[in-house]
């Protein structure tokens, strides 16, 4: 079988030989199980990938998708079950290298780059042997440049050091790294979450072209619209089991959500849970006066009021992060941020002053905020430990009590509060982190894309929590890259464009089309529903 030949990396997969084995699945996974310590990540997973199909793999975090993908990619070894590649039964590839030699190329959820190396080095990383090049240098350069130009729709100097690029471009390089290997099986594990919209669309074009040539694509995403757009079949996973395989046209979004979670709770209900805006809207708590995020862009004013839920939206890299950073006291090019407290106006000049004014900030990168080697309880209590002071001694019991209150309220699923935070799923880690800041009773909560990479169940809980918070009078400012969150959740959305506030959209006029139009600097009327 051609699939198992080593060193086929440099030769493009022709459409002709793909047609030959169209009836034999490229990958067949049967009854695979895998445990990490006490956690059973995969119980009984079966999965089949045919040549030329885009097969979506969906499920909540902790349902086992990533584990399955990592077994196929040679990162993890399986405990039980079989993996067949073509008609060859192997006990799954033992190393990423073996996986690649079997024609499997993976783009992982994490944006994996060697920061100090050039784009070119990053793209061809791992193809060569230690002593011998497998692909000549000139071919490498040409292939990389060609695929990058196709994906980014603009040329990118392949000698650029990769850390100089934006997150989206870096992820594009990771995708090209998989593409240059001319895979038989392309695995995209949340590969689109770091991409900007236009690049994502071009990636989809490439995926369609590859699948026409017989390449099988395993596609993992948290965005149901992407599955509707691209998927030929969907395999739904829940708690380490594969629960359903659906063909195109036989699923609805609601049904998929139901299969993944066992419930069909959707975003919309969350906002209905909170009081009407007029009843909860309070006085101004935080305002930005004459804020300028870029020396050459316009300054703008913003006022955040108690009890409102404000969305921050825009295409990636258009100033949303800078805005949030300014609000937390991180400074801007121009202008001041002022906290209002009982009629007083206090200038917020640094993050510690912001914290003193009850402004809590939850950063985007979970890993930056986590103390990975510490317990769940310690991670929760770190900034508020002074509250557990009992006559000068730290009372672990007091911390426990405080944590159990928040754990209950936020429905954190955990074993013992002394377990390491890393034993939790991504969604639960995020809940603990948010609880950390809520425990300080903030007046303003700044969130940077809090639901990125967390599962649908956890998202639902999170939306409910937001509704409760605004009911209690907390002002929430939330940067989100998901349109649906803005449309369904926010009282008001600030759309950023080219490092400046471009438009404020009130809840009544929020729609996907309105937002996307604003992203692109246009009126809603001129753009079709996205």
């Amino acid at each position: 079988m051609a699939l198992m030949r080593g060193g086929r990396i440099a030769t493009p997969a022709g459409p002709a030989d793909a047609a030959v084995d169209a009836h034999i699945p490229l990958v067949r996974v049967t009854n695979v199980a895998k445990a990490f310590g006490a956690t059973q990540a995969l119980r009984d997973a079966s999965f089949e990938l045919r040549p030329g199909e885009v097969h979506s793999l969906i499920g909540e975090n902790g349902s086992g998708k990533s584990t399955l993908v990592k077994i196929l990619s040679g990162v993890h070894a399986l405990d039980r079950g079989t993996v067949e590649l073509g008609d060859v039964e192997v006990n799954a590839p033992r190393t990423p290298r073996e996986a690649q030699e079997s024609g499997i190329a993976t783009v992982f959820q994490e944006v994996l780059v060697a920061e100090a190396r050039s784009v070119l080095d990053n793209i061809w990383l791992g193809v060569d042997g230690l002593l011998r090049k497998r692909v000549p240098g000139s071919d490498k350069r040409a292939r990389a440049a060609e695929l990058l130009a196709e994906l980014l729709d603009r040329p990118l100097n392949v000698d650029t050091i990769i850390e100089e690029l934006s997150l989206s471009d870096r992820q594009a390089c990771c995708i090209v790294r998989a593409l240059v290997r001319d895979p038989r099986v392309l695995i995209l594990d949340e590969a689109t979450s770091a991409l900007d919209v236009a690049t994502r669309d071009r990636l989809f074009e490439i995926v369609r072209r590859l699948s026409k040539q017989g390449v099988g694509v395993i596609f993992i995403t948290h965005r149901l619209d992407e599955i509707n757009e691209l998927g030929d079949r969907v395999t739904v996973m829940r708690s380490g089991n594969t629960v359903a395989v659906l063909d195109r046209g036989t699923w609805t979004s609601r049904e998929l959500v139901h299969l993944m979670t066992g419930t069909d709770r959707l975003v919309q209900h969350a906002r209905e849970e909170s009081k009407p805006l007029e009843q909860r809207l309070g006085d101004a708590v935080l305002s930005g006066n004459g804020l300028r995020l870029h020396p050459e862009r316009a300054a703008f004013d913003v006022t955040i009021r108690a009890g409102e839920l404000v969305g921050v939206a825009g295409l990636e890299g258009h100033g949303q992060d800078l805005f949030l950073n300014a609000l937390r006291g991180g400074g801007a090019v121009d202008g001041v941020v002022v906290a209002h407290s009982d009629g007083d106006e206090i200038v917020v000049g640094s993050p510690s002053e912001a914290a003193a004014q009850g402004i809590a900030f939850v950063p985007r990168e979970r890993r930056q905020a986590l103390f990975a080697w510490m317990s769940i309880r310690e991670n929760f209590a770190m900034p508020t430990l002074d509250r557990d002071n009992r006559m000068g001694w730290l009372s672990m019991r007091a911390t426990r009590v405080r944590f159990s209150h928040w754990a209950k309220r936020m429905e954190v699923v955990f074993g013992k509060d002394g377990d390491r935070i890393t034993t939790l799923s991504g969604g639960n880690q995020q809940k603990v982190l948010i609880a950390r800041w809520l425990a300080a009773d903030p007046r303003v909560l700044l969130l940077n894309d809090p639901t990125r990479g967390i599962d649908i169940g956890a998202k639902g809980d999170f939306y409910t929590l937001l509704a409760q918070l605004v009911d209690e009078g907390v002002a929430v400012v939330m940067l989100s890259s998901e349109l649906d969150e803005h449309v369904d959740l926010m009282d008001r959305v600030l759309v950023f464009r080219e490092q400046a506030l471009f438009r404020q959209v009130e809840h009544e006029s929020l729609s996907r089309a309105e937002l996307v139009a604003a992203f692109f600097g246009q009126d809603a009327a001129s753009v079709v529903e996205a």
């Binding site: 290298r97 996986a99 080095d121 990383l125 230690l130 850390e163 690029l165 934006s166």
Partner: protein
């Protein structure tokens, strides 16, 4: 227009930053040139041959310490200096007196160096001992062996050519036959995939592993390479002192590391290079000669090393700092 002036200034700063990022040894190089001029002014009859020969062991120790640091993952090799001493001792005590003071002896010590480096690498990779602990262990073991063999110093006998490494060969300073060897090997490594893999592994080992790089092999080879360079350093040392003594085993350990850091190699791995370490070693060496020509006591010398190291590393950090973090 003030705005365009700001812009121009920003552009100049950006270009400088990129230059310093690309050539992380730039600051050390400027320092070295300044020190060289100062030395030449202070000591007009600067003896190039001798100075190069006394520089050689430090320069080679610094270069030998570099590959393991570049390989990342907390990579570090403390055993370079005692390994150089071991090579020196083995050559003087065993090889030269038994008629192996020639090519064969050189090959033997090079293999010995690479072997010790490989053992370090395997300890770190297979036994998962943190590099600093593993090489600290070999550091003590090697110092013990050095002292055991060479409890009393011994003159070199049976090999005359090696002293030319500290003298001249056809009017060329002998040190120019040792110092450039690692650089040459380093250059040749850039012609095969290994070197860029080493940098990639040092920059991000998870990425490299997931992309199919054999991270373990790359790292073990980095330690072996360091051991090989240390063996060359041992030969340069032998040429310089024409004797062997166990008591000098640890003399280059920390200055070598200081040279690497001064030369712009990141201790987090993935950035820097051999040439930078050479420049770093030259800087430290010239600082030493200059200060001793002013009869500054050697205890102050150590203080100056410390300050120079701090200034260089902080300056490098300041210049290469990004103005705005990318989103």
């Amino acid at each position: 227009m003030p705005e365009s002036a700001t812009e121009r200034r920003g552009e100049v700063l950006g270009r400088t930053r990129r230059l310093f990022v690309r050539y992380s040894f730039a600051f050390a190089l400027m320092l070295a040139i300044a020190l060289l001029i100062a030395n030449l002014v202070k000591t007009p009859n600067f003896g190039w041959t001798f100075e190069l020969a006394s520089l050689a062991p430090l320069a080679l120790a610094a270069m030998a310490s570099t590959p393991s640091i570049i390989s990342g993952g907390g990579g570090f090799d403390l055993s370079i200096s005692p390994l150089m001493a071991l090579v020196n001792i083995v050559f003087v005590f065993y090889l030269a007196p038994h008629g192996l003071g020639g090519v064969l002896g050189v090959i033997i010590v090079l293999v010995l160096g690479a072997l010790v480096g490989t053992v370090n690498g395997l300890l770190i990779i297979l036994a998962r001992v943190p590099p600093i602990v593993a090489t600290l262990a070999t550091y003590f073991i090697l110092i013990g062996i050095d002292l055991q063999i060479a409890s009393s110093p011994r003159e070199l006998q049976g090999s005359t050519w090696i002293s030319h490494l500290a003298g001249t060969v056809w009017h060329i300073p002998g040190a120019l036959f040792t110092i450039p060897v690692p650089l040459l090997i380093w250059f040749l490594l850039s012609r095969i995939p290994y070197r860029s893999m080493l940098y990639a592994v040092g920059s991000n080992d998870a990425t490299s592993f997931a992309s199919g790089v054999n991270v373990a092999r790359v790292r073990v080879a980095a330690y072996a390479l360091g051991g090989l360079f240390a063996a060359i350093g041992g030969l340069a040392l032998t040429g310089l002192v024409n004797s062997a003594a166990g008591t000098t085993a640890s003399s280059y350990t920390l200055v070598a590391i200081a040279s690497v850091a001064l030369g712009g190699t990141s201790l987090w791995g993935g950035r820097g290079g051999l040439f930078g370490s050479l420049i770093g070693a030259i800087t430290i060496y010239l600082l030493q000669t200059l200060l001793s020509s002013f009869q500054v006591s050697s205890s102050w010398l150590e203080v100056v090393y410390g300050i120079a190291l701090l200034v260089a590393v902080c300056f490098g950090g300041l210049v290469t700092r990004r103005r705005v973090a990318p989103a």
